[in-house]
């Protein structure tokens, strides 16, 4: 890899992040001085067992929580210092989420769910739902446009979730155990779909998992143990790059 490769330009920079939680009278340190750089277009896997601090790291990266010390920058913006409203508009423009439990709103149809990020941006209804339908077709749900989440299988819900994460063309998509509730066949489908989107739109994916199988999809694997990065290695045997 050389300097002309767009992947080498950093999009996420984590500088000396420390996170403490008060538990009773004591303080638990969840993250100890994390430094991490993720490049644009990379699929980065944050790997660790439960309690390793990987979820806490994701929360810092996505601006869900403020770090006790240190700073997180996405595209040069110090998101750990943004106000609530600035953060909301930053999320609208630059971030997407895929959740473990899909997190579709139960009273909205698949189309409405996928269109939601555009709704918050103030895109008119027809326009945003047309975009949603297009994306749903791409994830193979053109026959489920007006179904409610409870009428869909887990795999279908997660595909709608992926469509929702990518509809606003974000720079970074965070995926928190996206296949944690799915069987192995669907897992492969879902992972390939995420990777395909990321490749097509040159987006950065932060994938949090405890499953070594999943980690093999990533360009970079960051392993956490007890709130510390113990290894940060580039994955040569990545599955998807071979396809490309």
């Amino acid at each position: 890899m050389n300097g002309s490769d767009p992947r080498s330009r950093p999009i996420i920079e984590v500088k000396n992040v420390r996170k403490e939680y008060p538990v009773g009278d004591e303080t638990v340190v969840a993250l100890k001085r994390i430094n991490l750089t993720v490049n644009r277009g990379e699929i980065c896997c944050i790997f660790g067992t439960s309690g390793s601090g990987k979820s806490t790291l994701l929360n810092q990266l996505a601006g869900m929580e403020k770090p006790t010390r240190g700073e997180v920058c996405i595209g040069g913006v110090p998101i750990s210092r943004l106000s609530e409203n600035e953060l909301a508009s930053f999320r609208q423009k630059h971030l997407g989420f895929v959740f473990q439990s899909y997190n579709l709103l139960p009273n909205l149809t698949a189309t409405e769910n996928v269109a939601m990020p555009l709704l918050f941006r103030g895109v008119p209804r027809q326009q945003r739902e047309a975009a949603a339908r297009k994306l749903l077709a791409r994830v193979g749900l053109s026959h489920r446009l007006d179904h409610f989440p409870r009428q869909m299988s887990g795999g279908q819900q997660q595909r709608a979730g992926i469509a929702r994460a990518f509809i606003a063309r974000p720079d970074v998509v965070f995926a928190d155990e996206p296949t944690g509730n799915l069987d192995s066949k669907t897992t492969v489908e879902i992972m390939e779909m995420i990777c395909a989107f990321a490749r097509d739109f040159h987006q950065t994916i932060i994938l949090v998992t405890h499953d070594p199988e999943m980690a093999s999809y990533a360009h970079r694997i960051v392993t956490l143990i007890d709130g510390e990065i113990v290894s940060n290695q580039v994955n040569d045997k990545e599955k998807l790059c071979h396809e490309a």
Partner: protein, 445 residues
């Protein structure tokens, strides 16, 4: 978010849990109804009170008299009349003076056939009579010298001198009364005062003289204005002055007015004008002294009734708050997801406030419709349930006293108040919703 999207989401969320929404709306509806009905009863009470007072006497007329006890500087004279006319809010002033002599007789008809042995003669500014609330059953106010206005039943005071004593008068009450207390079979008097020539015969210490008069109008009987409206004669002050001068003979002296009537433009100015006249050192009399305490009492009752209604609306407000808190705790995760996907905090606040406001609005509007119907039913029951009473029951009218009166402002106020109650009770839950972190979206169940 766009406004129509917010509105759509608000309705969607309300329809999601229909029974809960309906129950909460029902609470607001009952609260709104009780406020509207209670206040409308208060207004109805006040309205019928005012009608009652208006029947008792004109509410905007003040009578000024000389201060009781002693003869101070405060004299009822032309000076005072001028002074009163200058007070802000006064539209007309007239002195009143009655003719005080030993004996007044009236004779009328050819050869002075008809004779009334007594009558009262009052002088006042005849041009101001209509403004002062005198009603005419015939003719109009006296204009030129010698013209007078007769009381409604003056004609019955005359006896026919050509008939035998004992059967020479007409008894107005001979027909008796019907069940409503109205006179029936009233026999006609011997003469029509407006058609006969009349003469006043006045006796004083110094002698007797006559004054020819011409009746040009007949006033409606009204004892609140004085007995002259029934059996007396009203003439201009100038004419009365001439008679007085003649009666006094050589020992002329100024006779003060009995009283001065002051007509005020609007009821709201009566108290001020009255106290100003009192300030000049005169005694006053007006319906204000009756109206004030009655109005105060009515306002107190209205406040009490409205307060009772308000209590139920406040209970409904607690219902809204409860509903919203429940719905927010159910939707904690959803709110977290929305925040994670970039929903503005303001949009979340507006979303929940508009849900609470919509509950208030729907409850208020339906409550107003129901209380309007209830009010019409109450009025119909009191007026007698029939089709021709339907319109008076709704809009009222002359001589119709409704138990429940709903003016348009009350409906408007009730709807606004309900919406405000909704927004107010949604404030705390909405703040709670706003504080839910985006992190909720990631927490596993």
């Amino acid at each position: 978010m766009r406004r129509q999207d917010l509105l759509r989401m608000c309705l969607q969320n309300l329809l999601r849990r229909k029974s809960r929404t309906i129950l909460t709306v029902l609470g607001v509806l009952i609260g709104c109804c009780s406020i509207v009905i209670m206040v409308s009863l208060g207004i109805g009470m006040k309205e019928s009170q005012e009608k009652l007072l208006a029947e008792m006497g004109d509410l905007t007329i003040i009578t000024a008299t000389a201060p009781q006890g002693g003869r101070g500087k405060a004299k009822l004279d032309e000076n005072l009349v001028r002074q009163l006319k200058g007070i802000d809010g006064v539209v007309a002033v007239t002195p009143k003076q009655s003719l005080e002599v030993d004996e007044i007789r009236l004779v009328a008809g050819t050869g002075n056939r008809y004779v009334a042995d007594w009558t009262t003669v009052v002088g006042m500014d005849t041009q101001a009579m209509e403004q002062m609330g005198y009603h005419f059953v015939d003719g109009a106010a006296a204009g030129s010298t010698g013209d007078v206005v007769a009381g409604q039943y003056l004609a019955y005071n005359f006896k026919d001198t050509l008939r035998p004593e004992g059967r020479n008068t007409v008894d107005r009450w001979s027909g008796g009364w019907d069940e409503n207390g109205n006179l029936v079979d009233v026999p006609p008097p011997y003469l029509d005062p407006m058609k006969e020539k009349m003469t006043l015969e006045i006796s004083t210490e110094s002698g007797k003289f006559t004054v020819p008069i011409k009746v040009v109008g007949v006033t409606k009987e009204d004892y609140s204005k004085g007995s002259e409206t029934s059996e007396g004669i009203i003439m201009s002050l100038g004419d009365l002055r001439k008679i007085l001068d003649k009666a006094q003979g050589n020992k002329k002296k100024a006779v003060p007015y009995d009283s001065v009537l002051v007509k005020v433009a609007h009821i709201s100015r009566v108290a001020d004008v009255e106290s100003e006249i009192k300030g000049l050192g005169y005694s006053t009399e007006s319906m204000e002294s009756v109206r004030k305490p009655m109005e105060k009492e009515a306002r107190q009752k209205q406040l009490m009734l409205g307060g009772l209604g308000a209590i139920s609306l406040f209970v409904a407000a607690l219902g809204i708050t409860n509903t919203m808190i429940m719905s927010i705790s159910e939707r904690t995760r959803e709110i977290g997801i929305m925040k994670a996907l970039g929903c503005y905090v303001t949009d979340i606040r507006v979303m929940f406030l508009s849900e609470a406001g919509a509950i208030g609005l729907i409850g208020g509007v339906i409550g107003c419709i129901i209380s309007f119907i209830a009010s019409v039913v109450i009025n119909l029951v009191s007026l007698g349930p029939s089709m021709e009473n339907l319109l008076p029951a709704i809009v009222g009218g002359e001589g119709v006293s409704r138990i429940s009166v709903i003016p348009p402002w009350l409906l408007l106020f009730a709807v606004l108040f309900s919406v405000l109650i909704g927004l107010g009770s949604g404030y705390y839950p909405a703040n709670k919703a706003v504080r839910i972190p985006a992190l909720e979206a990631i927490k596993s169940e």
